[in-house]
Structure formats: structure tokens, C-alpha cells
Symmetry: none
């Protein structure tokens, strides 16, 4: 089916005005004027397209194209919030591609068997409140509602206060959870956030699954001493121990599988002076894999090495797992449908994993999930340089439209 490539790209460009930063990026947190303006704008476009527009009890926005049957519906969408000084494609591309697919169907007189709903979910990034995937946590009934008065942003504004300030009753937030069987499928288009599609020369790809993440924090403690006075063989220096661990993190991920990713993004020596052997060095670990067991094996391999090197060097190590998310496999039927959709638009079908977590990870708790990735220039995301070409947006939107058409049949 045809989609209007100019319209979806014009709308993407229009949204960039809400929350623009001096670097040309965007800062658009949940329940802020910029995010509300972007959401209201999209709601207007949904109404223009003739969709049935509504907000749920926490402000998730929906635009519904009715089907021949009342339900269950096919859900598609993404989010409009951003990380601080992020890019203009992460989130909005998925909301607007979904709207474009559904609007084109309506314009072409296509009435699906099942309804299709376009969703824009609040607070996916977790950049304001320390709880990512916020909107779909409410939607799937997994948000801990007794925490609504406690989880607060850096200014102390709680989620409850933010809801209240925007006309929602926090006491009724649990009503955002949908009944079982409400949705038959969820499909999200998102920018890829890495260079795999670019390396293959493809505008879009089919996501095989969303990696599960495990984050940990390590500290190795030794003895601070004068860098000049203390001979090498009398040192208890945590720095080379941490260096060994960093190299093991890289080795472990490389050796386990091409889908395993392990990163040390933070490292800090204390006291951190050029002429002092550090008393302690702290580092972060971020380990992800589509296969949860392999991810855990990677974490355990690193932890074992961490303990071994600390002991061997006469140091003390602390290794603490801080956060874990489960990996999900995309639904086999949806993936197969995407292969058929790709064939219909002459797109080479290429499957790739998602290393980043998305709303689909939540929605998989209530229905089968699939994702489409569109190419990111230089693999960049979460920064002002984030870019997906109009042609790639169009190709991804076509793939999404063909997929929705088949799923809603």
C-alpha cells in the first residue's frame, strides 16, 4: 500500500520545535510544556486523520482506526519524550510512522478486520522520573501504584503531583491498565541506535528480540601511597587490577556471541591525583544479550574474574548487581508477517537484535510484540547528531503499514 512519505517527514520536522536545545538536539521530559505541546500536536493530527482520539488515566495518547470487528486491536506507536539533549528521531519516528500508516489506510478506504490503535506512551526514557517505560508500565498494570507518591524527579516533583498538575487523578492511575485480550499484537518502529543497518546498506530491518540488561557496579580497593616513594613490588594499586577487568569485559562479550554486549562506561579513581596510587577505583558494568542465560553467564564470568584479580593482587573487590531487565524474543508470527511485508515492498529482509530496551519489552507481557528498526546515520542516538533520512523513514513506514495491514486482517 502507498503511504505519504512527505507528510510523515514534514510532521517529524514540525515536532522538532518542541524542546529544541542550543545544540540542535531536544530535551523533552514527561509532563513538561514541550512534551505536552508535542503530544497535543499529535493528538490534533490524529483527529484530522479521522481517528478516535482519547487519553488514558495517566496521559497515554491513543488514536483508533475502527475495524470490522470491535477487537482485539493491533497496537502500534512509540513515545514523544527524550533524553537530555537527545535527538529528534528516537520516539517521534515511531509515533508518526504509525499515524501515517493508519491515516493512509483510512484515506485509501481500507477498513481492517481488527481495529488499529496508534499510541504515544508517556515517559519512555526515564529521564525525568527514575522509572523508564512509564506509560507502558501503567498500560500493562506493572507500575507499582503505591510508589506513585514517592517516585520523584530531581526537583522533588512526584509522579502523582505531575499527573495532578495535568488534570489526571493519581488515585485512578491504575485504571490505565488494559483488560486481558485488549490487544492482539504490538508493533513499534524505532531508530536502530547502532550501525548494523548502515553497515548492510539497508534502510530498515526486522527486530528479532530485545536484549535483557544487567547493570552492576564494582569497586576495587587497595592502598593509597605516594606515586614516587612506593616501589612497584610493595604497591597495592587497584588501577592495573581494574584495567585487567576492563579487558576481560571486552573479551567475555566477544567470546560469548555476536549478540552479547558488555560495556564499562564509567570509571573513577580515588583520590584521583596524578602523584597518588589510588586507594580505590570504581567502575560500571552494562551487560546485555538476547539470551538471558548467556547474559547471566557473561556477568558471572566477569564477576569471577573480578574476584580472582582482586585476590591475586592483594586487593579487596566489591561487585554489586544494580538493575536487571528480562530479554524478550519478538513474536515468531509477527516476524514472519514482517518478512512477507518486506517482500511486498521489495525490501531485503534482515533480522537484527535490539540492544536497547523499548516499550515493547513491557507490552510483551500483554500481547505478542514485533519491532521495525530504521537506519541511524553513523549509528548515533541520544545526541543532537541523531539522524534518519526521509527515504529511510519512508521505507520503514511502508514496512510498518504493510505489517499492520496483515496483522489486522
Amino acid at each position: 500500500m502507498q503511504i505519504n512519505a512527505a507528510r510523515v517527514n514534514e510532521r517529524l520536522a514540525y515536532l522538532t520545535r518542541f524542546g529544541t536545545t542550543p545544540d540542535g538536539g531536544v530535551t523533552r521530559y514527561a509532563f513538561t510544556p514541550a512534551e505536552q505541546a508535542a503530544t497535543n500536536t499529535v493528538a490534533g493530527w490524529m483527529a484530522e486523520a479521522g481517528l478516535e482520539v482519547r487519553r488514558d488515566a495517566v496521559g497515554n495518547l491513543f488514536g483508533r482506526l475502527p475495524g470490522r470487528r470491535p477487537g482485539p486491536a493491533v497496537l502500534t506507536g512509540s513515545h514523544l519524550d527524550s533524553v537530555p539533549n537527545g535527538g529528534h528521531y528516537d520516539g517521534p519516528a515511531g509515533v508518526l510512522a504509525a499515524l501515517e500508516a493508519v491515516q493512509s489506510m483510512k484515506e485509501q478506504g481500507i477498513v481492517p478486520e481488527y481495529p488499529i490503535e496508534v499510541g504515544s506512551f508517556i515517559g519512555e526514557e526515564g529521564s525525568r522520573f527514575p522509572h523508564g517505560l512509564l506509560g507502558t508500565s501503567f498500560l500493562t498494570g506493572t507500575f507499582p501504584c503505591d510508589e506513585i507518591d514517592h517516585i520523584a524527579d530531581r526537583d522533588g516533583v512526584t509522579i502523582a503531583a505531575a499527573l495532578r498538575a495535568h488534570g489526571y487523578d493519581p488515585a485512578r492511575a491504575a485504571e490505565a491498565a488494559v483488560a486481558p485480550g485488549t490487544y492482539k499484537a504490538y508493533v513499534e518502529l524505532h531508530i536502530e541506535q547502532s550501525g548494523m543497518l548502515e553497515a548492510r546498506g539497508l534502510p530498515a530491518g526486522i527486530v528479532s528480540g530485545i536484549a535483557g540488561m544487567r547493570q552492576a557496579r564494582g569497586v576495587i580497593r587497595g592502598r593509597a601511597e605516594h606515586a614516587g616513594a612506593c616501589p612497584m613490588d610493595l604497591r597495592r594499586d587497584p588501577m592495573p587490577a581494574v584495567a585487567e577487568v576492563i579487558l576481560e569485559v571486552e573479551r567475555a562479550a566477544r567470546e560469548l556471541s555476536p549478540a552479547t554486549r558488555a560495556t564499562v562506561g564509567f570509571v573513577q579513581a580515588s583520590p584521583g591525583a596524578a602523584n597518588v596510587i589510588p586507594a580505590a577505583v570504581e567502575l560500571s558494568f552494562d551487560i546485555r544479550d538476547l539470551d538471558g542465560d548467556r547474559r547471566d553467564a557473561c556477568v558471572e564470568r566477569i564477576r569471577t574474574f573480578f574476584d580472582e584479580v582482586s585476590r591475586r593482587r592483594g586487593l579487596t573487590g566489591e561487585f554489586e548487581v544494580q538493575h536487571t531487565s528480562i530479554p524478550i524474543r519478538c513474536d515468531a508470527h509477527i516476524v514472519q508477517t514482517m518478512h512477507e511485508a518486506a517482500a511486498a515492498i521489495n525490501l531485503e529482509p534482515f533480522e537484527l537484535p535490539s540492544g536497547a530496551v523499548h516499550d515493547g519489552a513491557n507490552v510483551s507481557l500483554i500481547c505478542p510484540v514485533g519491532m521495525i528498526f530504521v537506519r541511524s546515520r553513523d549509528g548515533l542516538s541520544h545526541c543532537p547528531q541523531e539522524y534518519t533520512s526521509p527515504e529511510d523513514i519512508a521505507a520503514g513506514t511502508s514496512l510498518l503499514a504493510e505489517t499492520l495491514l496483515r496483522l489486522a486482517k
Copy 2:
């Protein structure tokens, strides 16, 4: 001659209040309120002792006991600044022992042939500005005054700005350099910072020479990307490259000689978030040896490895030598005088080298230099646990007083 052991130890204890850390250590950087308060306190004690007190053009503090002749003077002293969360003895012990020796002479009516000046030199540690031995660099005319507007602390405050903020005119900083022949000798008492005196059961020792230091800063730049999205083989991650370099630093020093010391005391990743592959990682290098050629060979080995690993991993590396001090041999006449002074107080004369750089390395450019070390418990320094007993402070102060008395004759 007698010294007042209680007074010197009481003064040492009094100074601990300026810049105390929660761990019981001290953070007292050049031109900060804590360092200024400590310096003003010592200036007050100098005045109380009847010395002629003055500051030079960059804030080095001097207290002068006149001699029968106008000059040249014997200079003695140390520094009051510290490393971050360092100890209370490194620096202050030398300033207060010098003051005690001179004050005791004055109280006992001893008028030396030549003047004796007690000095407290600014910014010895180089913990704030990346230029150690700052005060004696100005004193000896070796500070590159055209850099005064460029060398800055981590907050971007330049040395010139810090001087201006404390009432000194940076345009006149070069006036701190003394005329040739101003000093006939320099003697500094300092804590040992390693375990050699403790192993010998001696309170104090005579330093034979000071290792030469070379400090450098390295940055390896790659590409910031999403830690979950970017596969291992597409990364340009500077973190494992820096880990390789840190291990090479350790290897190089161990392989070159037992007197070679190489340390990475500072490391920082940018942006430094657990879920972002770093765009850049910065690290410090501190390489020392009593043999200057061997020290330089160590630096070059590390620099070559640094460039090689950056290239091999597709990254860009910058390696910049920031500060160099030459190794020095202590003056034979002063060492001989110290042996006589030790005999006068029944102290076993024991010679040992200094792995740490001290202001004496600079001052050796303008006059003969000698140093006295006092025992450090467990060889610890640059940490809150740094400790020298009151008895050892007293023994070292006596050795210093006897030495000054002889040199100023």
C-alpha cells in the same frame, strides 16, 4: 642545641584543622581558603618568633633570622598544600621543624654568621594546577611565565587568575625569582613516604638524592554510542585501549629497574554513564627514576605503546608531557654536615634515596641542597593514615637544627 619538641608537635596538630576531610585526612590545595588559613597561621607564628616575615611576588612565605652578615642565607622549609585526602605530615612537618629550629636558636640567643630563612612554598603537590613545585619554580626563575595565563585547574581557573584573586599581580610573578648567590644552601626536612627507615628502626635519615619525575596526560578518543545497541565489533571504545595502556605502565616500570616507578593515579571517562560507550577516556602518567635516562626511556616506551594501541583500535590518542623534574644528588658538603649533626645528637647516620620529588629538586638549580627524612609509619603517605610520631618529629627537628647551625656558621 635544644629544641622545643612539644611546640613543634602542637603546631603540627593545630594545622590539621585547615582542610580536614571526613576520613581524617586533609585536602588543602594552593590558593584555597584552607591553604591560605594554614599559611597565615604559620606567618603569625613566624612573627611571634621574632622573624622578619614577608611574602614574595607569588605568595611564597618567608621568615628570616638575620645573621651577623647580610648574606647569603641558608634556606630551609617545605610546603603547606596537600594532595586530595592526603596526610597531615607531608609538607607541614618540614615548615614547622624549620620554624622550630630557628625559633629555638633565637630564644637561646644564638646569632648565626649567615641569615637563616624559613620558607613555605606554594603548590608543591601540583594537585590543583598541573605544575608541581610551583612556588620553587617561581623562586628559581624556571616557571614558564608566558604560561601563567594558560595553566589552569580542573575548573578552568588559571594560575594568573588565582594569583590575582589573592592580591598578587601575575605580570610581576617573575619578580619572585631570586638573584644568583642569594642562598648558600637549602635544607628540607620531610616525611620519608616509604618503609626504609621503619625497616632500620631509625627515627630519621640523611637523603642521598631525589628521583627525577616526568608527568604526562593522555586522552584516547573514540565514539560515544548506546551501550546496548552497538555490537562489540563496530565499537570505537577508548576504554579497553586505556586499560591496555595502564597494564603497560605497570609492566614497563617493573621491567626497567627496581628504582623505576610508574603510576596512573587519575582516569576519567566522558560522558561517564553506565549505558554509554565513552567518547573519550583521559588518564595521568607519573614516571620517576633516580636515573634520568632510564626514566625517559620508560616514558618513551609508554608513549610508543599508547600510540600503537590507539592506532590498532582505530582511535585517536593524545599524549602530552606536562611536567619534568631532573634527578638530583644531594650536596656532598651538606651530607657530610648532616653526618656531623647526627653524631652530635647520637643518631645513627643512615643515607637513603628519595623516590618522591621535593622542592629541593628545583632549589638545587640555585644552591647546594640537602634533605632529612623522618620515619613514616607503615611507609604510608598521601593518605589520611600518614603518621610520624612526636618523638620522630623531635629527632628530625634536632637533626635539622644542628645541621642549620653548622651551615650558617
